[in-house]
């Protein structure tokens, strides 16, 4: 598929994956729909980055995560434009409940570098192992574990219970 991504086909096959991911991180329907469209439009621009060494779902998952986290940062830089969030979902594709996801993304990760934030999201929100998260961000599993441990130690208050198994 290198250089010749069939974007409509990818959209049909993976659109729900991207949409669910956007909703989990952004927690706003309109923002998630925009982000989903952005992700597929970016595919064309980043097509050369797809070397076929990862499945399209993994490749899309990375792009979606990066896109959504960038949007979250942009949203925080523009507090004058508040985004109405969805109410906490009764069910979610995350292994964490909606309140914990919100706590992680809105309260805990300020000050963490971008790669550490991705490690935290992949591990805690998505339930990936350290090795799996490492594959997503280009680090070893041990490096992911160390980053998460360092982040947890940096929290002044007691880390939340769901972070105990890091």
């Amino acid at each position: 598929m290198h250089g010749d991504l069939d974007i409509p086909a990818l959209y049909r096959r993976y659109g729900d994956l991207v949409l669910g991911r956007c909703r989990t991180i952004l927690r706003n329907d309109a923002d998630a729909a925009d982000a989903m469209q952005d992700v597929f439009l970016k595919l064309h621009r980043f097509r050369d980055s797809f070397r076929g060494d990862a499945s399209p779902s993994t490749f899309l998952y990375r792009i979606t995560t990066t896109t959504c986290l960038n949007r979250l940062r942009s949203r925080r830089r523009r507090p004058e434009d508040p985004v109405e969030e969805l109410p906490p979902l009764p069910s979610s594709e995350s292994v964490l409940d909606a309140l914990a996801v919100r706590q992680l993304l809105d309260e805990l990760v300020d000050g963490a570098d971008e790669k550490t934030v991705e490690c935290l999201v992949y591990h805690f929100v998505d339930g990936m192992t350290h090795d799996e998260a490492g594959e997503m961000v280009g680090l070893s599993g041990a490096a992911v574990r160390k980053r998460i441990a360092t982040f947890r130690a940096s929290l002044r208050d007691n880390p939340p219970p769901w972070m105990e198994d890091a």
Binding site: D16, R21, A35, Q37, S74, E93, S94, V95, G127, T129
Partner: protein, 266 residues
């Protein structure tokens, strides 16, 4: 075994896991209530997604077939129109827009030596005069921001603005840049020489200042003028309403600031 990751759940459904891993994950899914609930949630999102209209920009990516010229070199003229006063009007206020039929006149003016052949001039175009068809008085707040829409072309490893009168060949990659002027949404659309309007995308406006569209156009060899539009709005615009507005003469779109540029071949 720990819970299945969100991605793994998707890949299991999609049949993208190798046999032994798929069997292991399926066994966990069969026994884990939490993962079953997450799997059920993914199925709900899937059903919802399948009921959503597919964005036109994805069904028929414009970058694969935007027309600018059949000849190896095209004379491309760039004109920027400010179709509304720069001052932000009430969201419900009708807007003043240039009639599509006036675009060639502006192109000709640019080719004939309008002093807009610098990046600075391209970045800050003069608004078009009110059209005779739309006789609403134009008011402008002194010092107000001017809607901006620019076309940039790849040049080696970098990009540069497209200049009025410049020749672009088929295969050139052009990207739009816009300033949302603090509006919440930017809708990008185009109209070809046959008057066919296509809405490419509606984008939630990000940071202030000039932003790049998240896609580019590769020019093909079809002929005629190609107009690009950016509609700045506080609420998401209905794509069908945008198509109707951009197909009309004069162009009218309630609740939006409209700016455009035209690339034209000789």
């Amino acid at each position: 075994m720990t819970h299945l990751s969100t991605l793994k759940l998707h890949q299991l459904r999609l049949g993208e896991l190798p046999g032994d891993e798929a069997a292991r994950c399926q066994a966990h899914l069969d026994a884990c209530a939490l993962c079953q609930a997450r799997h059920g949630h993914q199925a709900e999102v899937r059903r919802e997604f399948e009921a959503m209209p597919v964005p036109l920009a994805i069904v028929r990516p414009r970058w694969q077939r935007v027309a600018l010229g059949a000849m190896p070199l095209l004379a491309a003229a760039l004109v920027l129109f400010a179709l509304l006063p720069g001052a932000t009007p009430p969201a419900s206020a009708p807007v003043d827009e240039a009639a599509p039929g006036e675009l060639p006149a502006r192109v000709d003016a640019a080719v004939d030596g309008d002093p807009v052949a610098t990046p600075e001039a391209v970045a800050a175009p003069e608004p078009a005069a009110p059209t005779s068809a739309s006789k609403k008085p134009t008011t402008r707040t002194k010092g107000a921001s001017i809607p901006r829409l620019e076309a940039w072309v790849e040049a080696g490893e970098s990009e540069r603005p497209v200049y009025p009168g410049e020749s672009l060949g088929a295969g050139a990659r052009v990207q739009l840049r816009y300033d949302a002027l603090g509006k919440n949404f930017v809708t990008l659309a185009g109209r070809d020489s046959n008057g066919v309007v296509e809405v490419y995308a509606t984008i939630a406006a990000g940071a202030r200042g000039l932003q790049s569209a998240p896609f580019a156009f590769t020019l093909d060899d079809s002929k005629g003028e190609q107009a690009f539009f950016a509609l700045l709005s506080d609420t998401r615009l209905d794509p069908e309403a945008v198509k109707t507005a951009l197909s009309s003469n004069p162009v009218r779109m309630d609740g939006a600031i409209v700016t455009s540029l035209v690339l034209r071949k000789d």
